[in-house]
């Protein structure tokens, strides 16, 4: 029948209109600045850099391998590699980024940087309130603005963060076991051949690698 759909639609509207006086459920509007729609756990906006511990610069997981920079489809990441090295989470000396910029005016939130990162250093943020009138400076995030703690990562993506943490702990245990085994082997070797005295004190120190 002609107009049946309109009547059905109007009936639904009327039900919500009058129902909203008795039931809060019928009020669909989420009044944004005061209340928010809860985000889904897999929600993502722009990438951020994870750091461990309290110091963002010291705990940065990124080792400036530049894989994300090369893989980024719209080329919105710019990384400068450091000249010196600093120890990472497992105590291994690694490079670090002296500059890590993401141009969020170009970023398309594809998550490819996250997928290719072998160090679990770059993850997706859920912060979306980034509107600005500053075209250049306001839309270019540097490494200080990008650095967010691991605790923050746990609050936005709890399941994923726990998985990442257990994987990193496993890897760290593996590295430590390997170092220990190497040190033991070196010590055994040194004990078996005590005659050449000068090299005996050297292996345990360099045995970690």
């Amino acid at each position: 029948m002609l107009g049946e759909g309109i009547l059905k639609g109007m009936a639904e509207t009327a039900r919500n209109f009058f129902g909203s006086y008795v039931s809060k459920e019928r009020l669909t509007t989420v009044e944004y600045p005061e209340e928010r729609v809860p985000t889904a756990e897999n929600a993502r906006v722009f990438p951020f850099l994870v750091y461990d511990g309290a110091e963002w610069e010291a705990g940065m997981r990124c080792v400036a391998c530049q894989i994300c920079e090369k893989e980024c489809p719209p080329k919105c990441i710019l990384i400068d590699k450091s000249k010196d090295k600093k120890p990472d989470y497992a105590g291994k000396p690694q490079f670090y980024p002296t500059r890590f910029d993401i141009d969020i005016s170009v970023c398309m939130s594809c998550q490819i940087c996250v997928e290719v990162c072998p160090f679990e250093a770059i993850k997706m943020d859920t912060q979306f309130e980034l509107a600005t009138d500053d075209r250049f400076a306001g839309l270019l995030l540097d490494r200080k603005e990008l650095a967010k703690s691991n605790e923050y990562y746990h609050t936005i993506h709890p399941t994923e963060a726990t998985e990442v943490d257990s994987r990193l702990a496993e890897e760290k245990a593996k590295v430590e076991a390997k170092a220990k085994a190497a040190a033991e082997a070196a010590a055994a070797k040194a004990a078996a051949a005590p005659n050449p005295a000068p090299p005996a004190d050297k292996p345990p120190a360099g045995g970690g690698d």
Binding site: E31, P33, V106, C107, E129, L130, A131, D134, R135
Partner: protein, 202 residues
């Protein structure tokens, strides 16, 4: 007007305001957007006007189908070089005071298509943009937040003096030249006075 004095007077039942405040309040509470969308960000813009996010709460529910009646242009989506002259023309047809929101990566900078041959690398090459919203696409809340940012910007404008808005300045540029389809690119590639030539800092 002293804010403290104003609150005190308000408690006594005397409400005072300045013409500037009243004027800005009126302007910011009835920013009517123009009804046009260019690509996928427009879907988020439509979602923003629907019941859940409800842009009517900010006085912007009336999407005008004509640029003559609109105050705000939400450039939502990819601006191709074919479409750019029409966007500039629509902006020229809008009456002052007028504002522009560049919504999404494509409207700000060309986004994922910025290395292509057919997409304009940001609408701010031709028309002045007031608020940029990054995101691909931005969430409806991000558009609302941009709207609040724009309202704050309108609130902070003075009616007199050097930093008065463009529409109160008789010498300000009112019309922006519409680019032509050149042999290889749009001509001119940007409007002078709108797009500053970026200085590369190394």
């Amino acid at each position: 007007m002293d804010q403290q004095l104003k609150i005190e007077l308000g408690k006594q039942g005397v409400f005072v305001t300045t013409i500037e405040e009243l004027y800005n309040w009126g302007r910011r509470s009835s920013v009517w957007p123009m009804q046009f969308g260019l690509a996928c960000c427009a879907i988020e813009m439509i979602a923003t006007t629907m019941a859940r996010y409800d842009m009517a709460r900010f006085g912007a529910e009336v999407f005008r189908p004509s640029p003559r009646q609109a105050d705000l242009m939400i450039v939502s989506g990819t601006v191709t070089k074919k479409m750019a002259p029409q966007v500039v023309r629509l902006y020229n047809q809008m009456a002052e005071p007028r504002y522009v929101i560049a919504m999404g990566a494509c409207a700000i900078s060309g986004g994922p298509f910025k290395q292509g041959y057919n997409v304009l690398k940001g609408i701010d090459r031709y028309i002045p943009v007031d608020v940029h919203i990054p995101g691909c696409p931005p969430r409806p809340e991000a558009l609302l937040q941009a709207f609040i940012t724009l309202q704050k910007k309108i609130d902070g404008q003075h009616l007199t003096g050097e930093d008065r808005p463009r529409f109160l300045d008789p010498n300000a540029q009112g019309e922006f030249s519409v680019p032509d389809q050149g042999e290889h690119d749009l001509e001119p590639t940007s409007n002078t006075g709108v797009w500053p030539v970026p200085i590369t800092i190394r």
